[in-house]
Protein backbone atom coordinates (compact mmCIF):
# COMPACT_ATOMS: atom_id res chain seq x y z
CA UNK A 1 0.00 0.00 0.00
CA UNK A 2 3.00 2.24 0.32
CA UNK A 3 2.99 2.75 -3.42
CA UNK A 4 -0.60 3.93 -3.32
CA UNK A 5 0.20 6.42 -0.58
CA UNK A 6 3.11 7.73 -2.59
CA UNK A 7 0.91 8.07 -5.65
CA UNK A 8 -1.70 9.93 -3.68
CA UNK A 9 0.96 12.20 -2.21
CA UNK A 10 2.20 12.86 -5.72
CA UNK A 11 -1.34 13.76 -6.75
CA UNK A 12 -1.70 16.26 -3.91
CA UNK A 13 1.68 17.85 -4.67
CA UNK A 14 0.89 18.08 -8.36
CA UNK A 15 -2.47 19.61 -7.65
CA UNK A 16 -0.90 22.23 -5.35
CA UNK A 17 1.61 23.14 -8.03
CA UNK A 18 -1.20 23.95 -10.45
CA UNK A 19 -2.49 26.50 -7.99
CA UNK A 20 0.98 27.90 -7.25
CA UNK A 21 1.67 28.37 -10.94
CA UNK A 22 -1.64 30.18 -11.35
CA UNK A 23 -2.90 27.66 -13.86
CA UNK A 24 -6.04 27.12 -11.81
CA UNK A 25 -7.63 29.25 -9.12
CA UNK A 26 -10.11 28.89 -6.28
CA UNK A 27 -13.04 28.23 -8.61
CA UNK A 28 -11.30 24.97 -9.63
CA UNK A 29 -11.07 24.01 -5.96
CA UNK A 30 -14.77 24.78 -5.57
CA UNK A 31 -15.60 22.44 -8.45
CA UNK A 32 -13.42 19.67 -6.97
CA UNK A 33 -15.42 19.94 -3.75
CA UNK A 34 -18.60 19.18 -5.69
CA UNK A 35 -17.36 15.69 -6.59
CA UNK A 36 -18.92 12.87 -4.65
CA UNK A 37 -19.63 9.15 -4.98
CA UNK A 38 -22.42 9.88 -7.46
CA UNK A 39 -20.19 11.96 -9.71
CA UNK A 40 -16.54 11.12 -9.03
CA UNK A 41 -15.46 12.42 -12.45
CA UNK A 42 -17.40 15.67 -12.48
CA UNK A 43 -14.38 17.94 -12.88
CA UNK A 44 -12.98 15.79 -15.65
CA UNK A 45 -16.32 15.99 -17.48
CA UNK A 46 -16.53 19.77 -17.16
CA UNK A 47 -12.90 20.05 -18.28
CA UNK A 48 -13.67 17.97 -21.39
CA UNK A 49 -16.49 20.33 -22.31
CA UNK A 50 -14.17 23.24 -21.72
CA UNK A 51 -11.46 21.78 -23.95
CA UNK A 52 -14.02 21.33 -26.75
CA UNK A 53 -15.20 24.92 -26.36
CA UNK A 54 -11.62 26.22 -26.32
CA UNK A 55 -10.55 24.39 -29.43
CA UNK A 56 -13.61 25.50 -31.36
CA UNK A 57 -13.28 29.14 -30.32
CA UNK A 58 -9.52 29.32 -30.90
CA UNK A 59 -10.05 27.82 -34.32
CA UNK A 60 -12.83 30.29 -35.17
CA UNK A 61 -10.67 33.21 -34.10
CA UNK A 62 -7.73 31.97 -36.16
CA UNK A 63 -9.96 31.80 -39.23
CA UNK A 64 -11.44 35.24 -38.55
CA UNK A 65 -7.98 36.78 -38.22
CA UNK A 66 -6.94 35.29 -41.54
CA UNK A 67 -9.69 36.96 -43.53
CA UNK A 68 -8.04 39.03 -46.26
CA UNK A 69 -11.08 41.16 -46.93
CA UNK A 70 -11.18 42.38 -43.37
CA UNK A 71 -11.23 40.98 -39.87
CA UNK A 72 -14.59 40.73 -38.15
CA UNK A 73 -13.55 42.05 -34.74
CA UNK A 74 -17.08 41.77 -33.47
CA UNK A 75 -16.93 38.02 -33.97
CA UNK A 76 -13.51 37.89 -32.30
CA UNK A 77 -14.89 39.82 -29.36
CA UNK A 78 -17.80 37.43 -29.06
CA UNK A 79 -15.41 34.43 -29.03
CA UNK A 80 -13.21 36.05 -26.40
CA UNK A 81 -16.26 36.78 -24.28
CA UNK A 82 -17.39 33.15 -24.41
CA UNK A 83 -13.94 31.82 -23.66
CA UNK A 84 -13.43 34.23 -20.79
CA UNK A 85 -16.75 33.11 -19.35
CA UNK A 86 -16.11 29.40 -19.47
CA UNK A 87 -12.49 29.66 -18.30
CA UNK A 88 -13.73 31.67 -15.35
CA UNK A 89 -16.37 29.04 -14.56
CA UNK A 90 -13.86 26.21 -14.51
CA UNK A 91 -11.15 28.19 -12.72
CA UNK A 92 -8.66 28.26 -15.58
CA UNK A 93 -7.01 31.46 -14.41
CA UNK A 94 -4.21 31.87 -16.93
CA UNK A 95 -6.52 31.19 -19.85
CA UNK A 96 -8.95 33.74 -18.46
CA UNK A 97 -6.20 36.35 -18.06
CA UNK A 98 -5.04 35.69 -21.61
CA UNK A 99 -8.60 36.44 -22.74
CA UNK A 100 -8.63 39.73 -20.85
CA UNK A 101 -5.40 40.82 -22.53
CA UNK A 102 -6.74 39.68 -25.89
CA UNK A 103 -9.87 41.75 -25.49
CA UNK A 104 -8.00 45.04 -25.34
CA UNK A 105 -6.30 44.31 -28.69
CA UNK A 106 -9.60 43.24 -30.20
CA UNK A 107 -11.26 46.44 -28.96
CA UNK A 108 -8.45 48.43 -30.57
CA UNK A 109 -8.96 46.40 -33.76
CA UNK A 110 -5.26 45.62 -33.77
CA UNK A 111 -4.80 42.55 -35.97
CA UNK A 112 -1.13 41.98 -35.17
CA UNK A 113 -1.78 42.29 -31.48
CA UNK A 114 -4.66 39.85 -31.79
CA UNK A 115 -2.49 37.30 -33.56
CA UNK A 116 0.07 37.44 -30.75
CA UNK A 117 -2.67 37.11 -28.16
CA UNK A 118 -4.15 34.14 -29.95
CA UNK A 119 -0.76 32.46 -29.87
CA UNK A 120 -0.45 33.15 -26.16
CA UNK A 121 -3.98 31.87 -25.61
CA UNK A 122 -3.22 28.63 -27.49
CA UNK A 123 -0.13 28.16 -25.39
CA UNK A 124 -2.01 28.62 -22.12
CA UNK A 125 -4.72 26.26 -23.31
CA UNK A 126 -2.19 23.52 -24.20
CA UNK A 127 -0.46 23.92 -20.87
CA UNK A 128 -3.72 23.67 -18.98
CA UNK A 129 -4.87 20.65 -20.96
CA UNK A 130 -1.64 18.74 -20.37
CA UNK A 131 -1.56 19.50 -16.68
CA UNK A 132 -5.21 18.64 -16.09
CA UNK A 133 -4.99 15.42 -18.07
CA UNK A 134 -2.01 14.32 -15.99
CA UNK A 135 -3.84 15.24 -12.83
CA UNK A 136 -6.86 13.21 -13.85
CA UNK A 137 -4.84 10.16 -14.83
CA UNK A 138 -2.93 10.15 -11.55
CA UNK A 139 -6.17 10.65 -9.65
CA UNK A 140 -7.95 7.83 -11.44
CA UNK A 141 -4.91 5.58 -11.30
CA UNK A 142 -4.45 5.91 -7.60
CA UNK A 143 -8.13 5.18 -7.00
CA UNK A 144 -8.12 2.26 -9.42
CA UNK A 145 -4.89 0.88 -8.08
CA UNK A 146 -6.12 1.10 -4.54
CA UNK A 147 -9.30 -0.76 -5.40
CA UNK A 148 -7.43 -3.40 -7.38
CA UNK A 149 -4.98 -4.05 -4.60
CA UNK A 150 -7.80 -4.34 -2.14
CA UNK A 151 -9.67 -6.78 -4.35
CA UNK A 152 -6.64 -8.87 -5.11
CA UNK A 153 -5.66 -8.90 -1.49
CA UNK A 154 -9.07 -10.22 -0.52
CA UNK A 155 -9.13 -12.87 -3.23
CA UNK A 156 -5.74 -14.27 -2.56
CA UNK A 157 -3.60 -14.35 0.53
CA UNK A 158 -0.49 -14.59 -1.56
CA UNK A 159 -1.29 -11.48 -3.50
CA UNK A 160 2.21 -10.05 -3.96
CA UNK A 161 2.96 -11.31 -7.47
CA UNK A 162 -0.46 -10.27 -8.82
CA UNK A 163 -0.38 -6.77 -7.44
CA UNK A 164 3.14 -6.25 -8.81
CA UNK A 165 1.90 -6.93 -12.33
CA UNK A 166 -1.01 -4.54 -11.91
CA UNK A 167 1.27 -1.85 -10.51
CA UNK A 168 3.63 -2.22 -13.42
CA UNK A 169 0.85 -1.90 -16.00
CA UNK A 170 -0.55 1.16 -14.32
CA UNK A 171 2.88 2.75 -14.17
CA UNK A 172 3.21 2.30 -17.91
CA UNK A 173 -0.11 3.97 -18.52
CA UNK A 174 0.67 6.90 -16.27
CA UNK A 175 4.03 7.52 -17.89
CA UNK A 176 2.47 7.27 -21.37
CA UNK A 177 -0.02 9.94 -20.38
CA UNK A 178 2.76 12.28 -19.35
CA UNK A 179 2.73 11.68 -15.62
CA UNK A 180 5.57 10.51 -13.43
CA UNK A 181 5.84 7.70 -10.94
CA UNK A 182 7.36 7.88 -7.47
CA UNK A 183 10.16 5.42 -6.89
CA UNK A 184 9.05 2.15 -5.35
CA UNK A 185 11.28 0.40 -2.85
Amino acid sequence: MDFVNQLQRKFIDYSSSLHREGIVDDQFTQLRKLEDENSPHFVMEVASLFFEDCEKLINNMAIALEQKQGVDFKQIDECIHQLKGSSSSIGAMRVKNACIAFRSFSDAQNREGCLRCLQQLSHEYSLLKNKLQTLFVVSVASRYLYVCLLMVGRENEHAEPFSDVLVFQLEQQIVAAGGSIPRVH
Binding site: Q30, V46, L49, D53, K84, G85, S86, S89, I90, G91
Partner: protein, 210 residues
Amino acid sequence: MEVAGEVLASESQLHVLAVDDSHVDRKVIEKLLKISSCKVTTVESGARALQFLGLDEEKGSLGFNGLKVNLIMTDYSMPGMTGYELLKKIKRSSTFREIPVVIMSSENILTRIDSCLEEGAEEFLVKPVKLSDVKRVMNDCIMRGETEGNKRRRVDKRKFEDDNHASSSSSSSSSSIPSSPSSPLPSSPSTAATSSPLHSLKRAKLRDHN
Protein backbone atom coordinates in the same frame (compact mmCIF):
# COMPACT_ATOMS: atom_id res chain seq x y z
CA MET B 1 -59.62 26.83 13.97
CA GLU B 2 -56.40 28.31 12.90
CA VAL B 3 -53.20 26.43 13.35
CA ALA B 4 -49.72 27.66 12.90
CA GLY B 5 -48.26 25.27 10.44
CA GLU B 6 -44.98 24.02 9.27
CA VAL B 7 -45.15 25.28 5.75
CA LEU B 8 -41.72 24.25 4.68
CA ALA B 9 -42.34 21.13 2.70
CA SER B 10 -38.89 19.69 3.10
CA GLU B 11 -39.78 16.54 1.29
CA SER B 12 -40.62 18.50 -1.85
CA GLN B 13 -38.01 19.68 -4.24
CA LEU B 14 -37.73 22.97 -6.04
CA HIS B 15 -37.76 22.60 -9.79
CA VAL B 16 -35.30 25.03 -11.32
CA LEU B 17 -35.05 25.98 -14.98
CA ALA B 18 -31.48 27.05 -15.78
CA VAL B 19 -30.82 28.99 -18.99
CA ASP B 20 -27.30 29.47 -20.36
CA ASP B 21 -25.75 29.32 -23.82
CA SER B 22 -22.44 28.02 -22.40
CA HIS B 23 -22.24 24.24 -22.13
CA VAL B 24 -19.64 24.50 -19.37
CA ASP B 25 -21.84 26.84 -17.33
CA ARG B 26 -24.92 24.66 -17.80
CA LYS B 27 -23.01 21.68 -16.47
CA VAL B 28 -21.74 23.61 -13.46
CA ILE B 29 -25.07 25.21 -12.53
CA GLU B 30 -26.81 21.86 -12.91
CA LYS B 31 -24.40 20.29 -10.46
CA LEU B 32 -24.71 23.14 -7.97
CA LEU B 33 -28.49 22.87 -8.07
CA LYS B 34 -28.55 19.07 -7.77
CA ILE B 35 -26.26 19.24 -4.76
CA SER B 36 -28.72 21.73 -3.31
CA SER B 37 -31.46 19.08 -3.70
CA CYS B 38 -33.25 20.66 -6.63
CA LYS B 39 -34.77 19.16 -9.71
CA VAL B 40 -33.04 20.78 -12.67
CA THR B 41 -33.87 21.39 -16.30
CA THR B 42 -31.21 23.14 -18.38
CA VAL B 43 -31.82 24.87 -21.70
CA GLU B 44 -29.45 26.73 -23.97
CA SER B 45 -31.47 29.80 -24.87
CA GLY B 46 -34.27 32.14 -23.88
CA ALA B 47 -36.37 30.83 -26.77
CA ARG B 48 -36.02 27.26 -25.50
CA ALA B 49 -36.88 28.44 -21.99
CA LEU B 50 -40.11 30.00 -23.22
CA GLN B 51 -40.92 26.86 -25.18
CA PHE B 52 -40.38 24.77 -22.10
CA LEU B 53 -42.64 27.00 -20.07
CA GLY B 54 -45.23 26.90 -22.80
CA LEU B 55 -45.02 30.62 -23.46
CA ASP B 56 -43.91 30.39 -27.05
CA GLU B 57 -47.02 31.23 -29.05
CA GLU B 58 -45.59 29.98 -32.30
CA LYS B 59 -44.71 26.54 -31.11
CA GLY B 60 -47.38 26.10 -28.49
CA SER B 61 -46.38 24.11 -25.45
CA LEU B 62 -44.48 21.38 -27.26
CA GLY B 63 -41.60 21.54 -24.84
CA PHE B 64 -43.68 21.61 -21.70
CA ASN B 65 -43.22 18.45 -19.71
CA GLY B 66 -45.83 19.09 -17.06
CA LEU B 67 -43.45 19.88 -14.25
CA LYS B 68 -44.04 23.23 -12.63
CA VAL B 69 -41.07 25.53 -12.54
CA ASN B 70 -40.40 27.13 -9.18
CA LEU B 71 -37.39 29.23 -10.11
CA ILE B 72 -35.62 30.41 -13.23
CA MET B 73 -31.89 31.11 -13.26
CA THR B 74 -30.67 32.70 -16.44
CA ASP B 75 -27.42 33.98 -17.87
CA TYR B 76 -27.55 37.63 -18.92
CA SER B 77 -25.51 37.68 -22.14
CA MET B 78 -26.85 35.17 -24.59
CA PRO B 79 -27.11 35.38 -28.37
CA GLY B 80 -30.62 35.97 -29.66
CA MET B 81 -32.69 36.67 -26.58
CA THR B 82 -30.70 38.05 -23.64
CA GLY B 83 -31.47 37.07 -20.05
CA TYR B 84 -32.87 40.55 -19.55
CA GLU B 85 -35.30 40.11 -22.45
CA LEU B 86 -36.31 36.71 -21.07
CA LEU B 87 -36.88 38.27 -17.66
CA LYS B 88 -39.16 40.91 -19.17
CA LYS B 89 -41.18 38.35 -21.10
CA ILE B 90 -41.71 36.28 -17.98
CA LYS B 91 -42.62 39.23 -15.78
CA ARG B 92 -45.10 40.47 -18.38
CA SER B 93 -46.83 37.13 -18.58
CA SER B 94 -49.88 36.81 -16.38
CA THR B 95 -49.29 33.09 -15.98
CA PHE B 96 -45.63 33.09 -15.14
CA ARG B 97 -44.78 36.44 -13.65
CA GLU B 98 -44.81 35.04 -10.13
CA ILE B 99 -41.91 32.69 -10.86
CA PRO B 100 -38.78 34.20 -9.27
CA VAL B 101 -36.04 34.92 -11.80
CA VAL B 102 -32.36 35.14 -10.92
CA ILE B 103 -29.90 36.69 -13.36
CA MET B 104 -26.29 35.49 -13.63
CA SER B 105 -23.63 37.57 -15.30
CA SER B 106 -19.87 37.69 -15.60
CA GLU B 107 -20.03 41.50 -15.78
CA ASN B 108 -20.51 43.38 -12.55
CA ILE B 109 -22.14 46.46 -14.08
CA LEU B 110 -24.27 48.57 -11.75
CA THR B 111 -26.67 49.86 -14.42
CA ARG B 112 -27.21 46.31 -15.60
CA ILE B 113 -27.91 45.11 -12.07
CA ASP B 114 -30.32 47.99 -11.48
CA SER B 115 -32.30 47.43 -14.63
CA CYS B 116 -32.65 43.71 -13.89
CA LEU B 117 -33.85 44.31 -10.36
CA GLU B 118 -36.23 47.02 -11.60
CA GLU B 119 -37.66 44.60 -14.11
CA GLY B 120 -38.40 42.19 -11.24
CA ALA B 121 -35.37 39.93 -10.91
CA GLU B 122 -34.98 38.41 -7.46
CA GLU B 123 -31.23 38.47 -7.45
CA PHE B 124 -28.27 39.23 -9.63
CA LEU B 125 -25.39 36.77 -9.23
CA VAL B 126 -21.92 37.56 -10.48
CA LYS B 127 -20.20 34.64 -12.18
CA PRO B 128 -18.52 32.34 -11.50
CA VAL B 129 -21.47 31.10 -9.46
CA LYS B 130 -20.55 29.28 -6.28
CA LEU B 131 -22.42 26.81 -4.12
CA SER B 132 -22.93 29.47 -1.43
CA ASP B 133 -24.71 31.67 -4.01
CA VAL B 134 -27.05 28.86 -4.98
CA LYS B 135 -27.76 27.94 -1.38
CA ARG B 136 -28.63 31.53 -0.58
CA VAL B 137 -31.01 31.72 -3.53
CA MET B 138 -32.63 28.44 -2.44
CA ASN B 139 -33.14 29.70 1.10
CA ASP B 140 -34.77 32.87 -0.22
CA CYS B 141 -37.04 30.78 -2.42
CA ILE B 142 -38.06 28.44 0.33
CA MET B 143 -38.83 31.40 2.51
CA ARG B 144 -41.23 32.56 -0.15
CA GLY B 145 -42.89 29.19 -0.18
CA GLU B 146 -42.00 28.18 -3.71
CA THR B 147 -41.93 24.45 -3.30
CA GLU B 148 -43.24 21.84 -5.67
CA GLY B 149 -45.34 19.95 -3.16
CA ASN B 150 -46.89 22.91 -1.49
CA LYS B 151 -50.34 23.21 -2.96
CA ARG B 152 -51.76 25.75 -0.60
CA ARG B 153 -52.89 29.03 -2.00
CA ARG B 154 -51.93 32.55 -1.34
CA VAL B 155 -54.20 34.39 1.00
CA ASP B 156 -55.99 37.59 0.23
CA LYS B 157 -55.61 40.16 2.96
CA ARG B 158 -59.28 41.06 2.73
CA LYS B 159 -61.61 39.34 5.09
CA PHE B 160 -63.75 36.96 3.23
CA GLU B 161 -67.02 35.47 4.28
CA ASP B 162 -67.37 31.90 3.28
CA ASP B 163 -70.96 30.81 3.66
CA ASN B 164 -70.23 27.16 3.14
CA HIS B 165 -67.51 26.96 5.69
CA ALA B 166 -68.40 26.34 9.31
CA SER B 167 -67.63 29.41 11.35
CA SER B 168 -64.48 29.16 13.34
CA SER B 169 -63.84 30.54 16.78
CA SER B 170 -61.14 32.81 15.44
CA SER B 171 -62.33 36.18 14.23
CA SER B 172 -59.97 36.49 11.34
CA SER B 173 -60.41 34.11 8.54
CA SER B 174 -58.18 33.40 5.68
CA SER B 175 -59.29 32.79 2.18
CA SER B 176 -57.68 31.72 -0.98
CA ILE B 177 -57.65 33.38 -4.33
CA PRO B 178 -58.74 30.89 -6.92
CA SER B 179 -55.79 30.24 -9.10
CA SER B 180 -55.61 28.87 -12.58
CA PRO B 181 -54.49 25.27 -13.03
CA SER B 182 -51.25 26.36 -14.55
CA SER B 183 -50.40 28.68 -11.70
CA PRO B 184 -46.78 28.36 -10.79
CA LEU B 185 -47.28 29.72 -7.35
CA PRO B 186 -48.18 27.09 -4.79
CA SER B 187 -47.55 28.92 -1.58
CA SER B 188 -48.93 28.95 1.87
CA PRO B 189 -51.67 31.24 3.06
CA SER B 190 -50.50 33.76 5.57
CA THR B 191 -52.31 36.50 7.30
CA ALA B 192 -49.67 39.14 7.26
CA ALA B 193 -47.26 40.64 4.82
CA THR B 194 -47.55 37.98 2.17
CA SER B 195 -45.58 40.10 -0.21
CA SER B 196 -42.48 40.20 1.95
CA PRO B 197 -40.13 37.43 0.98
CA LEU B 198 -38.28 37.75 4.21
CA HIS B 199 -41.16 36.68 6.36
CA SER B 200 -40.63 33.25 7.71
CA LEU B 201 -43.44 31.01 6.62
CA LYS B 202 -43.16 29.13 9.85
CA ARG B 203 -45.00 32.01 11.38
CA ALA B 204 -47.77 31.78 8.85
CA LYS B 205 -51.16 30.83 10.09
CA LEU B 206 -53.05 28.27 8.15
CA ARG B 207 -56.64 27.65 7.74
CA ASP B 208 -57.53 24.31 9.10
CA HIS B 209 -58.17 22.16 6.07
CA ASN B 210 -59.05 19.02 7.97
